[in-house]
Symmetry: C2
Subunit: 364 residues, 2 copies
């Protein structure tokens, strides 16, 4: 170290020792995205510097590594989402960080550990995050950065929908529409690892063969377009058992079409409505076929199960699948935090769950 | 007894003693309604004499007293109902009879007891019925004939829908449309006895005040027309808690309107579709409000619970409510068995569950 540098550091250490500014100057200036009114994300979001104090007892200071931009984040900023954080708010619900400092009494989390924040609406789109130790999940360093950053929404949604609405055993069949969605890809892979067959419905498109090859590679058992589903003989012929569960993120006519093929008593779980059309439910499907129409919202589940054993077991299994390469993260593009507007714009224009996931990258 | 009569009886006893014809001549000639093809009930149903043998071990011979004509019976004869009895078939799923003779080993049922047949599709529209003892339920003689004859469908449907889809406690609110249906009237009365408040939706009609007075008399807490429901302040004002359960026999727009008022997580149970319009389910009601759309079919429940403790407990409680005058049978008209066509015609023209129930009367 040069003499001048030593002198500057000495000065800084003396002047701001109580706020521990020295360490943070060696890292990056803490900053965050923030909005004070609901509206167009490009307009209402500002970048702002932040003062981060040292972690108190039971707290950990995290330097964020990556945080995805999810469609639900956009809707939240627009004020169109049912969970409205008090303003001003920092956007972002997912991410992964590295522990930079721990407070007193924190023994199971160490500096350098990779952790995933676990609470809703705390705002992950910032360089640094100060959290209670019970609100972070330590993840293995060998877990991919993308898998860790996107752990708490899509893979968990897929896992819970497959687990909580009916009892599935190896050889059973699950049907899903919007099968190429981020969640749908997780459904395919988790089902493969559990020995469950998947009938995957996608929309007709120019590069259909490419998509089919991709989903087959993930472990999809059958892939049908919405048109093919209408005339398929797959279930009538007995080639595959009628699905014991349907997962619906489309709504409208396709959901109705899926209902027709379900086994008696099967639940259809709705977690999205990409067609923007409601579900049409024939009375006979309810009464005589006993089809159950349910909904799932990961945000509510996480809130209701903040400290549940089920939640920890789920993370353990998902992380195990990911580190064994049985469950891969979504196709994505990393975008430097400085270019956050690019990530916002792209997430807004690719409409919902289709396409690449844009992930804020805090390496600078 | 005259000498001639004595001689005739002697003759009959000698000639047909193996078939026990003597006793039956003293009662009535056994006969039944029967159809050999699905179609218009008036055309396909014939009256036919029947040979009834003596009850074997474990069997009871029942002389029917009363059997209602339900809309589902009409649909079954038309071939429009999902449960299709093998042909030729005797119509009728409900009724009450008097035990005329018991076979060997039957100790808990005696001649003269009133019993309700318990199996589906056995055909109650006949003067005599030979059944295994486990397929009949002994009911108290003090139970009203109409209540006994109509015990196994509407009161049971109401009971199970209130019991099996959510946990209700005194003070909770249940909402139902088609509240003046036979089932709806049972819902009102059972809820009153359990301390549960009911919000009852009916259609606008000329004699609305009369209907409101009738339903209020049964114990209805609130009665609203479909129009009034659209603008009501009942729930927003906090006058009554949001319903924890909705029962739907209408479908279409009214069901959607009911959905809007439900408490988060509440189930809407569909058991009919009088509007002939499907249910429209907004995606947000499923995902963010966690409303559950389920169906109920008494026929399936009874089949699945043929010998369950739940079933016996339900009958016990319903019969207790009925004999305490807390639960009354439907408004009805008794029609002599000979005039069965009148009962069929009327049930077919009053469309579904609205109006009087027509009950075949086997007293002759």
């Amino acid at each position: 170290m040069s003499k001048i540098a030593t002198k500057v550091l000495g000065l800084l250490t003396t002047k701001a020792s109580s706020q521990n500014a020295f360490k943070r100057l060696l890292s990056t200036q803490p900053s965050k995205l923030v909005y004070s009114e609901y509206g167009d994300p490009i307009k209402v979001i500002q970048r702002a510097n932040e003062d981060i104090s040292d972690p108190k007892d039971g707290e950990v200071l995290i330097k964020m590594l990556a945080a995805p931009v999810n469609p639900a984040d956009i809707n939240t900023i627009q004020g169109k989402y049912p969970s409205k954080p008090p303003l001003p708010a920092v956007p972002g619900n997912e991410g992964v960080g590295k522990v930079e400092k721990v407070g007193g009494g924190v023994t199971d989390i160490c500096v350098g550990d990779h952790v995933v924040p676990l609470t809703n609406n705390l705002g992950t789109w910032r360089t640094h995050l100060l959290l209670k130790k019970e609100n972070v999940l330590k993840v293995p360093q060998k877990l991919g950065l993308v898998e860790a950053a996107t752990l708490t929404v899509n893979p968990c949604t897929a896992f819970r929908m497959l687990r909580d609405f009916t009892s599935l055993k190896p050889g059973d069949t699950v049907m899903q529409n919007g099968a190429n969605s981020a969640c749908g890809q997780n459904v395919i892979q988790i089902c493969r690892s559990w020995g469950i067959r998947t009938v995957n419905i996608v929309r007709e498109r120019p590069n259909l063969d490419e998509l089919k090859a991709f989903l087959t590679g993930l472990g999809a058992t059958y892939i049908l377009t919405e048109e093919e589903l209408r005339t398929t003989n797959l279930f009538k012929s007995g080639e595959v058992d009628r699905p014991k569960l349907a997962l619906n993120c489309v709504g409208g006519k396709n959901a109705l079409e899926c209902t027709r093929h379900l086994a008696p008593g099967a639940p259809m779980v709705t977690y999205g409505g990409m067609s923007r059309e409601p579900l049409t439910v024939p009375t006979s499907a309810l009464i005589f076929k006993d089809i159950q129409f349910r909904g799932f919202w990961m945000t509510r589940w996480s809130k209701d199960n903040a400290n549940s054993v089920d939640r920890l077991e789920m993370f353990e299994e998902l992380i195990s699948l990911m580190t064994n390469n049985e469950l891969q993260g979504p196709s994505h593009k990393m975008v430097n935090f400085d270019n956050y507007k690019e990530a916002l714009m792209n997430t807004m224009t690719v409409q919902g769950m289709i396409g690449k996931k844009y992930i804020l990258d805090f390496h600078s």
